[in-house]
Symmetry: C2
């Protein structure tokens, strides 16, 4: 998906919501467990109930890999069930030396090879340029590079500081030598809205994927106040608060209600930039 198509979708739906399909077989409603593929059935119903309210689904690959072959099957079925006009993210945090990252790119972008073709994959920056660039060789596909994450452990290395600034700032600056705002986004955690001021100094135009709103404690208003740009420039993710809104047979309807609440708030925020 191109940047232009993504922005158009945000305008059409008045939403910049990414719904995280962090689907844990131990947390889904019990009545699904007798089905052939409970995880896919859960995802299918969540997607059907929310696809007009979000512009992206983010699939956390760990939740699928943890179940071996069965999980990998659920993953492939889910990716291929997603509407083609919705921005699909493999939240996989991959990254290795060049020839290996090329294999990971095949895994997530090359349908002929893996039966999956996401629009984007999250990538860890520690191994540098040649671990990232193999993902950039696909037209209209995106790398979403970890910059500043929302977890406690973000403090351990991402805030390492020297005369060039923090490490996460160096990641933002250096990676712009390899990619641009049409093929790279950044993961920026939302636990402190003011952090977006620093991020926007270095990446004014890039889209930012923002986890941590909801269950992890971030505020959508703060994220928009400090992080939104003229093209919106944000994909805000919510996983647990939406998909586990109910553990009963009404789970999909309950997820829709939660997604509507977020989308209504997003509609107001988008109004402020004329979308």
């Amino acid at each position: 998906m191109t940047r232009k198509e993504l922005i158009q979708q945000i305008k059409n739906k008045k939403s910049f919501l990414a719904i995280g399909l962090d689907t844990d077989i131990n947390k889904i409603p019990k009545h699904l467990l007798s089905m052939e593929d409970p995880v896919f059935e859960f995802n299918k119903q969540i997607i059907d109930a929310t696809k007009d309210l979000c512009v992206s689904y983010k699939i956390n690959t760990a939740f699928y890999e943890s179940r071996g072959i069965a999980g990998w099957k659920s993953l492939i079925k889910t990716v291929n069930y997603l509407p083609k006009d919705i921005f699909s993210i493999a939240d996989a945090k991959r990254g290795d030396i060049g020839n290996t990252s090329a294999m990971y790119a095949d895994a997530f972008f090359n349908e002929e090879s893996s039966d999956m073709s996401f629009d984007a994959v999250t990538v860890a920056p520690y191994m540098g340029k040649d671990s990232v660039t193999p993902f950039l060789k696909y037209d209209d596909k995106w790398v979403i590079l970890l910059a500043l994450t929302s977890n406690e452990g973000a403090k351990d290395f991402q805030f390492t500081k020297n005369e060039e600034g923090f490490l996460f700032e160096k990641v933002l600056k250096t990676s712009q030598l390899w990619a641009n705002d049409h093929n790279m986004m950044y993961v920026v955690g939302a636990t402190r809205g003011e952090a977006f001021l620093e991020i926007r100094k270095h990446a004014p135009n890039h889209f930012l994927l923002v986890p941590g709103v909801g269950a992890q404690g971030g505020s959508l208003a703060d994220v928009c106040k400090y992080g939104m740009n003229k093209d919106c420039g944000l994909l805000v993710n919510s996983s647990r608060a939406i998909i586990y809104a109910s553990s009963s047979e009404d789970f999909a309807a309950a997820a829709r209600v939660e997604a509507q609440k977020v989308q209504a708030e997003m509609k107001e925020e988008l109004r402020a930039i004329g979308f």
Copy 2:
């Protein structure tokens, strides 16, 4: 596998070789392609031909994921074919927030969940403590944390310097607050042997997983000179130079010849520390 068992194996085999099963279906001998699972068949023959010469197999998950379900099946069959007394490494470079890393730990360590149980998994440090510690909850399983990698892109962030030293040194020091030399190893690239002097200042006792000897240009003698400790403390990986030694029907025998050359050199190095 415990540290003691690993050291005993090194003594018994006079080897600290890890063979990398970076098995690319486009590079294996053509006569295997008519078989039901060519990648597993290739791995099986390589393992049969080399298992007395190495103490570890390192499986690069990207090469399997790239082929979707078929690849994941080859991966699971390969892991379960490995002799139980050989140290098995999932070279997966994972790492995410705590609840997600716990899922990755299930993927690679919890046989009931995923049908796979490796002895170790490689983990990327960027997201810090809570991205690493979920992997440490399994007895006798290991995290192999990326410290200094052998690729060109290692320069981009790993050598970021401040008054505490380089970032890779901070990774070594900080991670020792979470783990010890019985459940953590470090990936240290071998392109410059002298770098091991710095590494050993911070991690004198830890085992180091050393890629980059052979195809990536490192010298085994230098790695031993600067990196070996009294318990050996090294697992040196070779992938392409061994597994692709021949592209004909004799590939397994050719791989054995290459593995023997490395093992003979390792035997001499081990003699120097009385093993």
